[in-house]
């Protein structure tokens, strides 16, 4: 039994190979005829070749489509020649022969196989259909979407055949849309109505364009066409409605990603300001240091641009964190209990850091490369394409927040940190070295700002003024959310981000920002302690 199966498999594979070899031979025969065929004959030949199960038909047809298929006058052998330049080596298509071009004069030995527009259309349609029928489902769907751009180029019967044998529903759906687009121009009104119905919930921009064009062709006052006109109108309305939902979703996505940026910028501040009560005006510069660290890491490992960002995260944390510890030990330590003085001193530090960076790296912005895995987009539906980097930043900001909450609530250091900020003398008397806890807490807040800098280096320009742009926003977020409350910071950042993106379309980016600033200023008047304020005697201080 087993032997029989093996035998059958062997037979099958042998016969498949045989078929392929035979197809290649047919392909070669048909291709050879191209050189002497008329344009009409060429079209027919191309269609025949496209039907063959041959492997090499695709490069051949591609070469033909890009005008680089030549036939040698002496023996009709086919060559693909992209550039006719001395020193280039060219390769015969079906034969194991290559030759070096020595002079331009050799060009006379070759005849280009010419094509006209009709053939080009046939070719692109055939190539597109080939794309649709080979590769992964994902690739095939992308290929099918290409067909939406020029549905009329594709042979209707071939398309129907493809749909019938299509295994992936996603691909079949797109192909169905292509077919429906073709049928929109059909003379048969029932076919047109069916096509419109198929297009009903499709969000591809081409579909909408086609429907609008179709509507233009219809005459609403003609009783024969009135029903169809209304149907088109209804379909367009439903598409527009979906598009609007998409718009909201996009606003929300952009808003959340802006919120994530605000969150990243503000989390560090939520520690230094919210927990320790230190007004760190150099917070923005900690972010800037993180961004420059990212730049440096990339310069140091040019080969590993894909992983350099991951290396930069701990590096930025360390750099900014260390600078934070130094600042705390050298300046802020002496100013506890004097918030306004702390504000001024740290502002001075921010000026020094800015100028230091300007002196070292120059006043111009530095280019930080985006690794490939962060670039590009993903598609939620045909009308909604979103960029990956924003998604990564949303996730990243939440990760940082959760990690921080964990450190605060679940680790010994977090416990000591809270103990010191609540009751310093008591904590000291219990053996906690409050000085070190202060330094490390400040370092933690600064380090997180550094991490924010890594993320921001992917979104904005890395320059000496990077930090300044975020300091006021960060304070607004922390104050709005309620000082000393991480979840408040999260809610505040996200709601400000989304609000900003919702207002932007009506008011413009700058006015949106102004409106939000004014809103927060008014809000603080109403609730001086933020959204999620702690109440009671402890906060009265």
């Amino acid at each position: 039994m087993r032997i029989f199966v093996l035998f059958c498999l062997a037979c099958c594979s042998w016969s498949a190979q045989a078929q392929l070899a035979e197809a290649d031979l047919t392909l070669q025969r048909l291709a050879q005829q191209l050189a002497v065929a008329s344009y009409d004959e060429k079209s027919a030949l191309i269609s025949q070749m496209a039907q063959l199960p041959a492997e090499r038909k695709k490069p051949l047809l591609e070469a033909l489509a890009s005008n680089s298929l030549y036939s040698r006058e002496s023996d009709q052998r086919l060559f693909v020649i992209e550039r006719f330049k001395p020193g280039e080596r060219i390769q015969a298509f079906f034969y194991d022969e290559s030759l070096l071009i020595e002079s331009r004069r050799q060009k006379r030995d070759f005849d280009k196989i010419g094509i006209n527009n009709a053939i080009r259309r046939t070719l692109s349609s055939e190539l597109a259909l080939m794309e649709v029928s080979s590769g992964s489902d994902q690739q095939r769907r992308l290929a099918a979407e290409q067909l939406l751009k020029s549905p009329q180029d594709i042979d209707a019967s071939r398309l129907q055949a493809l749909i019938a044998q299509e295994s992936s529903p996603a691909v079949a759906e797109v192909l169905g849309l292509v077919a429906a687009l073709q049928q929109l121009t059909s003379a048969d009104s029932s076919q047109r109505l069916a096509a419109i119905k198929t297009l009903q919930r499709s969000l591809y921009p081409q579909v909408r364009v086609a429907l609008v064009q179709h509507q233009g062709r219809l005459d609403a006052s003609n009783p024969l066409q009135a029903g169809e006109y209304q149907l088109v109108q209804k379909t367009l309305a439903s598409i527009d409605q979906l598009q609007q939902l998409n718009g909201y979703a996009r606003d929300l996505y952009f808003g959340l990603s802006l919120g994530a940026v605000l969150l990243l910028a503000a989390i560090g501040l939520a520690i230094t300001f919210g927990v320790m009560g230190v007004i760190n005006m150099a917070h923005g510069e900690m972010i800037m240091l993180g961004a420059y660290t990212t730049y440096l890491v990339q310069q140091l490992m040019p080969a590993g641009s894909e992983v350099s960002l991951l290396v930069a995260i701990p590096a930025a944390f360390l750099v900014s964190g260390l600078v934070g510890v130094v600042i705390e030990r050298s300046v802020i330590r002496h100013l506890y209990g004097r918030p306004l003085e702390t504000l001024l001193a740290t502002f001075g530090i921010s000026l020094i850091l800015q100028q230091a960076v300007r002196s070292i790296f120059g006043p111009l912005n530095r280019e930080v490369a985006t690794p490939e895995w962060m670039a590009g987009t993903f598609m939620l539906n045909p009308g909604l394409e979103l960029t990956w980097n924003r998604l990564y930043i949303i996730i990243f900001s939440l990760l940082v927040l959760v990690l921080l909450a964990w450190v605060m609530k679940r680790t010994l250091f977090g416990l000591q940190m809270r103990a010191v900020t609540m009751n310093r003398p008591m904590a000291s008397s219990m053996g906690i070295r409050s000085g070190w806890v202060d330094a490390l807490t400040f370092g933690l807040g600064s380090g997180i700002a550094g991490i924010a800098g890594v993320a921001l280096s992917q979104l904005t320009n890395v320059g000496p003024n990077l930090g300044q742009a975020y300091i006021i926003d960060s304070f607004m977020v922390v104050v709005f959310g309620g000082v000393g409350n991480l979840w408040g910071t999260l809610v505040a950042a996200m709601s400000l981000g989304v609000a900003n993106k919702v207002i932007e379309p009506f008011a413009g980016a700058v006015l949106a920002k102004i409106l939000l600033l004014v809103f927060i200023i008014l809000f603080i008047q109403k609730r001086p302690r933020g959204l999620f304020a702690l109440k009671g005697r402890a906060v009265e201080g």
């Binding site: 003085e341 530090i349 921010s350 300007r358 008047q525």
Partner: protein, 386 residues
Amino acid sequence: MPVQATHMGPITRLLTQDKNGRRLLLVIAVLAIVVPFCNLLFPAESVLHISTYTMTLLGKYLCYALLAIAVDLIWGYCGILSLGHGAFFALGGYAMGMYLMRQVGDRGVYGNPELPDFMVFLNWQELPWYWLGFDSFAFSMLMVLLVPGTLAFVFGALAFRSRVSGVYLSIITQAMTYALMLAFFRNDMGFGGNNGLTDFKDILGFDLQSDGTRAGLFIASALALMLGYVISRVITASKLGRVLVAIRDSESRARFLGYRVEHYKLFVFVVSAMLAGVAGALYVPQVGIINPSEFAPIFSIEIIIWVAVGGRGSLYGAVIGAVLVNYAKTWFTGAFAELWLFLLGGLFVLTTLYLPRGVIGLWPPLQQRWHRYRQQRDLVHQEDCL
């Protein structure tokens, strides 16, 4: 301070007790006479000649000094650290700038008699309503006081009533000036956007480029500074001033004594904003431009450092600080532009850490040391004689 002091009115106190204040007023008065005199009467090659450039620079310092007094009045005496006082300065400056813009008339690049150049450039057809009235000098000067005053009143009324204080207040004042900066950067606000207002021609019919006008502006700045000082001193030397100090030291005590803290804060905040507005209004014709960068948060913080360096809570310290820091800035940005921010940053850190009372805080210990030295010298002298 002797007991009978409290029987005196503030003006009497100023005349009899505020020794350093009198010195300051005297110095400014002398400057107001000597500088224009040396500028106008001595020829350029004379040793005694003071160039118009120097005079304008000094005039600028006087405006900054007035601004510093305004900040010291609220920060030094009432503990309100405003990180947005540049906004009031800039608003006063814009009010003056609008007047100067209207004075340009049809002498602009586009020669439009009705609209300033930037509006012609933006294809505006008519003057926006808020520009009306600025052809009148009196109205404009009223606005120099009223616009910053009104903003301070509204902002302060809201903030102080809901008891926003300390760092929170500092942060929202910073947000206020930041928001205003963004707003004034917008072209459709009608204040010249990015470029601001510039290319002024004359003021009250006098050519702004002439030495005489410059001298007049210098004298006006000096007088404004003196007046600003006297007003601030009258306030701080009165019982009102002591209530302010009470609020600064212990806000709740002042409340439980029955003082309406928010009214006091609001009053002094508005006065301070108006002083800042006047400073801005005098500043603009001397530098010849006003643009949104005056709203930048960093400028407002720089004002704070002037006061901190000079020594807060004394008024004259603010003047000294403003002149010192700005002189240093002029010198450094000329000689070592790179170093200026390092120096400014260092100033912030060092003054807060080591000079909490500012430069004037250095004076009493020095004086004491001098006295001790003299005593010792006298002692040694006596011993020698013996």
